[in-house]
């Protein structure tokens, strides 16, 4: 079981949906050792999954692991918010070992 698990709900190939996928992939690429699992759900193809997870907006990123689950609505262009929310910058177990907080943030800038 990976330490990080995500579901990204997008709608078709809209600008915002593509941006969300691109942004997320770019963030993960900065942590090559990161053990994560990402499932991309297109609500046009799988509306039932959107129903189950009660998704209102697209794109929506759901952090399934670690608990508690969290949601980020939007195309994930707000890097700081995204990193903080999904645990890439936080102090818990999900934090990538080779990238301490301050170092990670300086690296961003």
């Amino acid at each position: 079981m990976p330490t990080l698990a995500f579901e990204l709900f997008v709608m078709g190939r809209t600008r915002q949906s593509l941006a969300a996928i691109r942004n997320l992939r770019a963030y993960f690429a900065e942590f090559p050792d990161l053990d994560y699992e990402l499932t991309i759900v297109d609500v046009l193809e799988q509306p039932d999954r959107a129903e189950e997870s009660r998704i209102l907006a697209t794109p929506t990123l759901v952090r399934l692991m670690p608990l508690p689950s969290l949601r980020i609505i939007g195309d994930l262009s707000e890097k700081e918010i995204v990193w903080q929310t999904i645990g890439l910058l936080s102090d818990d177990s999900a934090r990538p070992g080779s990238h301490p907080n301050d170092e990670g943030s300086s690296h961003d800038r």
Binding site: T14, P47, L56, T58, P59, P68, I72, S77, E78, I81
Partner: protein
């Protein structure tokens, strides 16, 4: 239903009265905004719209809830007899649950739209083949999605998509005031061409629910506010009073008033499908007139229904016994049904709905209301007027005879609010008045109006004893009875007046 004038089709909702004030229902394949303050029955209306579709037209419906969780809605609507869970199992009803959840923390991290919501709605509509859709309520979307610009754009996109899907939709929205802006967030301008306003007004310490079609773009509808009530068993009932048509059948058939002299005064009895108003001060013999009316019906084997708002059953039965009529026996034989209610137990709309239901169940030939004026104090003047119109037209529509009593506020002369409101609606008016003569109170009766018939114009003396009402000779030497200031003329004066015209 095709609207002939404009060619815009409408979908009959099946909500009692609503299709009448909308001239056929909601504009088909469009979204209608239903706006109202808190507690104005928006959610009930939405649920009933879907329930009626399933029950009456076999049309499936989707309920998109932004506010109450589906479990709450299922439970709340069960009382109205709508088993939503069963309909869900049968594929007739589907929820799209967008009610707020407290479980997941949510942050905004960039641009977004409500594509997922639209995808879920389309999925639900396609899954059960829905023809009706309700979104309840828009205000709750704004609390979940802070950026109102996004919500506006997305709602426009959603309503456009719904039109393509071929569903006829209702979108509910909150207002903060009963007579202010149509809805919060200025949504009405962009979302929909059709606006209906639900009101729950506090007027003279009484709650009054009304519904108004504000606009239906491209098609006609009835104008103004119509009262409605929420029946605990069946939901919303709109009372389309002013929309009623005067198309009752008319008959020359006469029925007995139960008093042969009164029948003669009326030119041979009351008309079978007429409404008669009996007006008089307290103690002038109104309830006796009602009792005679029932007796006259029972003698012909007709069924009579009496709504009493002033006296208890025991009092009524005792009085009738005093006049030689056994109500209990009549009830047991099935000729009579007496319903005694305190006017204060319900609002006028509820009284009207209950009375209509009783009339439809009992199917009487004669309906008596004693007294109508007791109901005046339950509602506003406008509400009372609507109530009287509603009841009168219902009775006439069913071709029954109706006898209403009205109590005048003053002992001598006078007119009541009831009369002012219904004198033009009723076919006949009987006046019962006190006449003071040399320190003695005597009673007089006259037929003021008898539509479609000759009638006695004289004011006759009435005496009441243990065998009932006796109508005697006219007051020949008194004038000013109806004005409440009787003036006695001497024999000599009468002779002089007669001579004056004789010359």
């Amino acid at each position: 239903m095709i609207d002939k004038a404009m060619g815009l089709p409408k979908l009959p909702t099946g909500i009692p009265g609503f299709d009448s004030i909308t001239n056929g229902g909601l504009p088909e394949h469009r979204t209608t905004l239903m706006s109202g303050t808190a507690g104005s029955a928006k959610t009930v209306f939405g649920c009933q719209y879907l329930a009626s579709g399933i029950e009456q037209a076999g049309q499936a419906g989707v309920f998109v809830t932004f506010e109450e969780p589906p479990a709450d809605i299922r439970r709340n609507m069960l009382g109205f007899g709508w088993d939503i869970a069963a309909w869900e199992a049968a594929g007739k009803w589907a929820f799209v649950d967008v009610s707020p959840q407290l479980t997941d923390e949510t942050v905004i991290g960039g641009e977004y739209d409500l594509g997922a919501l639209l995808a879920r709605m389309e999925n639900a509509v396609n899954r059960i083949g829905a023809e009706r859709l309700v979104m309840d309520s828009l205000g709750a979307v704004f609390t979940q999605i802070a950026q109102s610009k996004i919500v506006r754009n997305e709602m426009l996109r959603i309503t456009t998509a719904l039109k393509k899907l071929g569903v006829t939709s209702i979108l509910t929205a909150e207002r903060t005031e009963e007579f202010g802006a149509i809805a919060r967030y200025g949504i009405e301008e962009f979302v929909t061409d059709n606006v209906v306003v639900l009101r729950n007004i506090l007027e003279d310490e009484k709650r009054r629910r009304t519904i108004e079609i504000l606009k239906f773009r491209g098609t006609d509808h009835q104008k103004g506010e119509y009262p409605f009530t929420i029946h605990p068993k069946g939901g919303i009932i709109v009372l389309p009073l002013s929309a009623l048509e005067l198309k009752q059948q008319s008959t020359d058939l006469r029925i007995s008033s139960g008093n042969t002299v009164l029948d003669d005064m009326c030119g041979g009895g009351f008309f079978r499908d007429s409404v008669i108003l009996v007006s008089g001060a307290t103690g002038t013999g109104k309830t006796l007139t009602v009792t005679q009316f029932i007796n006259g019906g029972a003698a012909q084997g007709e069924r009579c229904l009496l709504f009493a708002f002033e006296e208890s059953r025991e009092q009524l039965f005792r009085n009738a016994r005093g006049w030689g009529l056994d109500f209990r026996e009549l009830e047991e034989s099935g000729c009579l049904r007496v319903i005694c209610t305190y006017p204060e137990v319900a609002g006028l709309e509820d009284h009207l709905v209950a009375m209509k239901a009783e009339i439809e169940t009992f199917k009487p030939n004669r309906v008596a209301v004693d007294s109508l004026s007791a109901l005046e104090r339950v509602g506003t003047v406008k509400g009372f007027r609507e109530f009287v119109i509603g009841l009168t037209s219902f009775i006439k529509h069913h071709e029954m005879a109706g006898l209403f009593t009205a109590t005048t506020p003053t002992l001598l002369g006078g007119a009541s609010v009831t009369e002012a409101h219904i004198s033009t609606i009723t076919d006949s008016i009987l006046l019962l008045r006190y006449v003071e003569m040399y320190g003695v109170m005597r009673r007089g009766m006259t037929v003021l109006k008898m539509r479609g018939s000759m009638h006695d114009k004289e004011i006759r003396e009435v005496s009441i004893d243990s065998s009932g009402m006796h109508i005697g000779a006219p007051f020949r030497n008194v004038s000013g009875i109806l004005a409440g200031v009787p003036v006695h003329a001497s024999e000599r004066e009468i002779a002089r007046l007669n001579d004056m015209f004789g010359q």
